[in-house]
């Protein structure tokens, strides 16, 4: 099966749609949430657990797999999916986000861009709370980026061509053009300069992909998505989407840092400019409310490490909002994590899971990760179903009312 995107139903009055992405390794019913398996493992879960909780695809990080175990070892396995035993569709990101977010960018006018709270939060996410990486540096030029490894501080270089070569070795069904991910605090002039470079890099990514042909690791044709940048500037976002939209990409990623209100604006600007018949992926976004505003703004797929990262710290999603099972109140609570949700964890009490957390038992992370991923995967699957049924707005209202105790978007943001 070759790559193809079909739209089945539109969400009236919005840019939203329900559809299907066909890939060589299976279909993705959209809108869909894609769990992140950073280093070719969804942290603390087996692939069967990932499958059983309803995940349709997995996204791995090019930056991390490039550093460890290295692209050649992954290729020798027949790609990262085969290496980790995942039979379904896969994504890899371009490596750009980690290169820039894990390093302090300098040179060419971005000298020591301040790390904002938003970027800091995203950096924390990409670190996955496991190892605290050393401070690393990044040097950008027209050809590419020199960066230091978070593992050992050694210097490496990514160019659009190298990112394509690496991602061909990783062998995902869907992969992304190499982009420059800017700080959300960067001024307009720098953002403009950065998207122009990202567009030149996008062209080079496309050419290299064409040159490389099918993935040498899997033997399958891969779909390349361009990545739209432009910060929070409407004209830059629209320009980036128009420019990339005119190129022969199979779909589009929407990158950069977002606040809740950006998803309703910046993502919408982008979707309004992008070709309608190609799938759109919102990179690294995954709070429950984001899915609603993302879908309404034309997003088809989402990925985010938040559900598993917070799980390892004891936080669990419920229909009544997020709870933390470390809290004393759960030590004697005989209910399951969420009494209204049926999944693998339903037979375990909060009391038992609180005990596992307090005892530093790994099973705590496993159980809460299963629950949280099931929660967000189901939430986006429910959104899809309600788009198909024509009941989306009722569903949105009832979900948000219970989860956030509010349906007012402005209060939420």
């Amino acid at each position: 099966m070759e790559f193809k995107f079909e739209i089945e139903k539109r969400l009236d009055g919005t840019l939203g749609r329900a559809g299907t992405i066909h890939t060589p390794h299976g279909d993705i019913q959209t809108p869909a949430f894609i769990p992140v398996g950073t280093k070719a493992t969804v942290k603390s879960l087996t692939v069967e657990q990932v499958k059983d909780l309803g995940a349709q695809a997995v996204l791995a990080n090019t930056y991390h797999l490039y550093l460890e175990p290295g692209e050649d070892r992954v290729a020798k396995h027949g790609g990262f999916a085969k290496m980790m035993g995942w039979n379904g569709p896969t994504f890899t990101d371009s490596g750009g986000f980690q290169v820039f977010s894990l390093g302090a960018a300098y040179g060419e006018g971005v000298s020591k861009v301040a790390t904002t709270e938003v970027l800091a939060a995203k950096i924390a996410e990409s670190r996955d709370g496991e190892k605290v990486p050393r401070e690393t540096k990044v040097k950008i030029d027209e050809e590419g980026v020199d960066f230091q490894s978070v593992i050992d501080g050694s210097w490496h270089r990514f160019t659009p061509e190298r990112s394509m070569q690496i991602q061909h070795s990783l062998g995902a069904d869907i992969f992304f053009a190499f982009d420059e991910c800017t700080s959300p605090l960067a001024p307009y002039e720098y953002q403009k300069k950065a998207i122009d470079r990202t567009h030149r890099w996008a062209k080079r990514s496309l050419s290299e992909h064409t040159l490389l042909g099918v993935s040498h690791a899997t033997g399958a044709q891969q779909a390349l998505f361009g990545v739209v940048q432009g910060g929070s500037f409407e004209d830059l976002r629209r320009e980036s989407a128009r420019t990339l939209g005119a190129m022969d990409f199979d779909g589009y990623g929407i990158g950069g840092s977002f606040t809740k209100s950006d998803i309703g604006t910046a993502v919408r600007w982008v979707s309004e400019e992008l070709p309608e018949d190609k799938p759109r992926h919102l990179l690294g976004i995954g709070e429950p409310i984001d899915f609603f505003y993302g879908v309404e703004s034309g997003v088809d797929t989402f990925d985010c490490v938040t559900p598993t990262r917070v799980a390892r710290n004891g936080a669990a999603y419920t229909v009544d909002g997020r709870i933390n099972l470390h809290n004393a109140q759960y030590v004697d609570d005989m209910l399951p994590i969420d009494p209204e949700i049926k999944n693998y964890t339903s037979s375990f009490t909060r009391s038992y899971i609180a005990h596992l957390l307090r005892s530093n038992e790994m099973l705590a992370a496993t159980l809460i990760s299963i629950h949280n991923l099931h929660f967000v995967v189901s939430l986006v699957a429910n959104i899809r179903q309600h788009v198909l049924n024509g009941t989306y707005f009722d569903y949105k209202r009832s979900f948000l009312k219970r989860y956030y105790k509010s349906v007012d978007y402005r209060i939420l943001s």
Copy 2:
């Protein structure tokens, strides 16, 4: 089904036998290896994974569950098996081993018994490599033991009666009388004093168990095993086995520290004295060779944390001996952990698992724990099968020759 032990076949020229232990929650085909779920979780595994790798029963630690989450919370769940979702037979130990091994015993002639290498190794095991417990103290008197919690240093008291009450709350099918676990370095006079006390405690354990009736947590009748002590002194071991053997226990635990040669001698002395028609459990022993000498010495069931503890450090059992997947040679090794063994991990390469280990990914512990537990559970199941088939000695010779590159017991010990 009430508790019952049936012997199906004897191993000629030895004390060995193959049989079945019937419990209210299912049968155990013996000889059998019982995985340890210290705090009501077999570390890094779900109960389905434990079941799928072939485990017939799980053993939890009374000491740990008493401290966290506490006996009442476990009872509220209907016992630890129900709390963790395990449907099969279960064991709990008496708490004695942890009380004494996690504390430096003093008072009544055991003043500051030196911690030997053997005891230190067992302490390391009981710690499970997770938290390093603070130094704690233990005070023994005729009635019971005062000890400090490894968690917060608070003082607690176990008596034979308390141990029975706690173990009734935990609700295992098979549980153990409260015993005094001595240092292997303790002199004869102290060992003698200790077994006399252990025998008085055994009587009190039996009385309290009779008084308590069925487990109030599960509603099921539990089987109480007496624990034979006596260090490495033949007359004390025989005396302890004879004394306890004359009491109305449902089976027997064999406690204390052992070297490889002890298993062929001390365990044999004990089994020669114990009633033949009751099952025997060798507490906390689990190197591959131990199973052979244990079975020949009349042991029916084994438990040990070693397979999962070493797994978390990257060590895996193979038919050709133990390997450590942290070693550089495995980084490019495309074979499964053990190419001759089929289990859940067979579809993953050593290279992938080495990558997971180097990346501190939890899945490494999960995969190697599954493999190691499958290895030892299968090994003891194979021993059983070969006892039944009359091919035990051929199997023993061929296994030991490959695993230890030797079939000479003296070289091995």
